[in-house]
């Protein structure tokens, strides 16, 4: 069963990779994402259906283009208004088919597509969904659920972004060297948003749960293969793999939530940690520090517990302090306070926590969970109880809610 699921996943990955390559190729030549998606939609569905049964074809892009042909011909027949656009698409499709048959490996222009999706002219809320839809071929309904948005709203958001790309003539060119850091930061952020889609966690110190974690890692790998020289790229992948390595340890046999500090290190995936360690070393060797290198380094300290048996909270607190300088978010600030409390005591942690402006955390559950925990340790029971109640009321996850309720009773 497990082998079968693994085969299925591998086949699906192959189909998504070919789809992404073809979509990037067609869209880069027509500047019309929606039309390119429309042309490939049926062929992609057919691939998801046939390939698991018949195996991945030797020339997957050629297979997809052949399957897409009828849709393209239908389009050409019915097109009246957009005759010119259809002609451009037909020409691009013919070129794609020729290359798919002739070239040993189909050209990979997905990096351009990643940069396009995170273009500053596109609504920030649409960037990650656009990436998931175009590069990986994910359907809008799934993306909508992960981001807790009505599918109709998500559909509109996506189609507005595509219209903007087409009508504003946003280019598919690679960013210039001077623009690269800023443009890359947007791409990395969009991928990380897919990893974290929708799940809060205790003090931000642990990974978000399901959402689109596997898809985000897939995007991280695509980017890693295409842009390996930028240290933040392997660092982001390392960060996601560290978090992913703890997935099995995050629930006990009864399905109850197990926080990071109580997880059994034997339940961590050591192969994922090894891969993450390797990627982080590669990134740090470039000697160009960045936000994701810091975040990955924090997780590597946690991962080291599997060898040393303890967590170096002083190191974690230092790294979070640096992260707050570089990328000040309430998640980092809350996690910093948690680490300070572990390293220097509840009083110090509470002082640190109070530096966060109240307005920023009104609806931030991890803040209230940590506040409850620290207040309880300081013996301020009534305040602790109120803070825990607030955290429970803001919780989106049943298992997390149960953990907080247990702590509220125990602390």
């Amino acid at each position: 069963m497990i082998a079968e699921a693994a085969t299925r996943a591998a086949v699906e990955r192959a189909a998504r990779e070919s789809y992404g390559r073809l979509l990037a190729f067609l869209a880069a030549r027509t500047h019309d994402l929606a039309a390119a998606e429309d042309a490939l939609a049926d062929a992609f569905q057919a691939a998801l259906e046939h390939w698991p049964r018949d195996g991945v074809p030797t020339k997957p892009e050629a297979w997809l283009m052949t399957a897409a042909k009828r849709r393209l011909l239908d389009r050409a027949r019915h097109a009246q208004v957009h005759a010119q656009a259809t002609a451009a698409l037909a020409q691009a499709a013919a070129e794609a088919q020729a290359r798919a048959n002739a070239d040993p490996v189909f050209p990979d222009e997905r990096l351009k597509l990643l940069f396009l999706c995170a273009h500053p002219a596109i609504d920030a809320h649409a960037r990650t969904p656009l990436m998931l839809q175009t590069v990986l071929g994910l359907d809008a309904a799934r993306i909508a659920s992960a981001f807790l948005v009505a599918p109709a709203t998500m559909g509109q958001r996506l189609s507005r972004a595509k219209t903007k790309i087409r009508d504003a003539g946003i280019g598919f060119d690679m960013p210039l060297a001077a623009e690269l850091p800023a443009r890359l930061a947007a791409v990395l952020e969009a991928i990380y948003a897919a990893y974290g889609s929708g799940w809060d966690d205790v003090a931000g110190a642990d990974a978000k749960r399901r959402g689109l974690a596997a898809e985000a890692i897939e995007l991280g790998r695509v980017l890693g293969a295409l842009l390996p020289q930028e240290p933040e790229v392997p660092a982001l992948l390392a960060l996601m793999l560290y978090c992913e390595s703890r997935r099995a340890a995050r629930r006990d046999a009864a399905g109850a939530y197990v926080p990071l500090s109580e997880q059994n290190v034997a339940d961590w995936s050591h192969s994922l940690i090894d891969e993450a360690d390797h990627l982080l070393r590669l990134a740090l060797a470039r000697r160009r520090p960045g936000r994701f290198q810091l975040e990955a380094a924090i997780q590597s300290v946690h991962a080291a517990r599997r060898l040393s048996g303890h967590t170096d909270w002083h190191a974690v607190a230092l790294l979070y302090a640096a992260l707050r300088q570089l990328a000040p978010t309430i998640g980092a600030a809350t996690a910093h306070a948690a680490a300070v409390a572990e390293a220097y005591g509840a009083e110090a942690g509470w002082t640190q926590l109070q530096t966060i402006p109240a307005a920023a955390v009104a609806q931030y559950q991890p803040y209230w969970a940590l506040a409850g925990h620290l207040l309880a340790r300081l013996g301020r029971r009534a305040e602790a109880n109120a803070a825990y109640a607030r955290a429970i009321g803001l919780c989106e996850d049943a298992a997390m809610r149960e953990l907080l309720q247990r702590r509220r009773m125990a602390d």
Partner: protein, 117 residues
């Protein structure tokens, strides 16, 4: 004792909200609310927008699915609810009977949970 009066509507009743039957439809509801107010039984309530404006979240263990449209996927849909405070179930049913009748409208009466301390 508090009760909810739930009003389930047919597609045609929802359609009546935006055609020439609109004024009569809402007028009857407002007169009903006025009556409940006069009798001192009206606590609150809400009229709901059309079913197609609904979005549904299904909570599963560790996953949630967001879908367009109402729950459940039946022909009749909840159109609004009233909360009343009356002596007993018989009084609640008496008020439910006075709810304006529209073709196909079904009324459900259910006691509210008592407030817990």
């Amino acid at each position: 004792m508090k009760f909810a009066i739930l009003s389930y509507e047919t597609p045609d009743n929802f359609a009546a909200r935006s055609d020439q039957r609109r004024d009569a439809l809402f007028g009857a509801v407002f007169r009903y609310i006025d009556e409940m107010r006069r009798a001192g039984v009206f606590v609150g309530g809400a009229g709901l927008d059309l079913p197609q404006t609904a979005t549904t979240i299904r909570l599963e263990e560790g996953v949630r699915r967001v879908q367009d449209g109402p729950y459940p996927d039946t022909k009749e849909q909840l159109g609004g609810l009233f909360v009343i405070d009356v002596a007993d179930e018989a009084a609640a049913i008496a008020w439910a009977r006075r709810c304006p009748r529209e073709p196909g409208r079904v009324i459900e009466v259910r006691p509210l949970l008592p407030p817990r301390t």
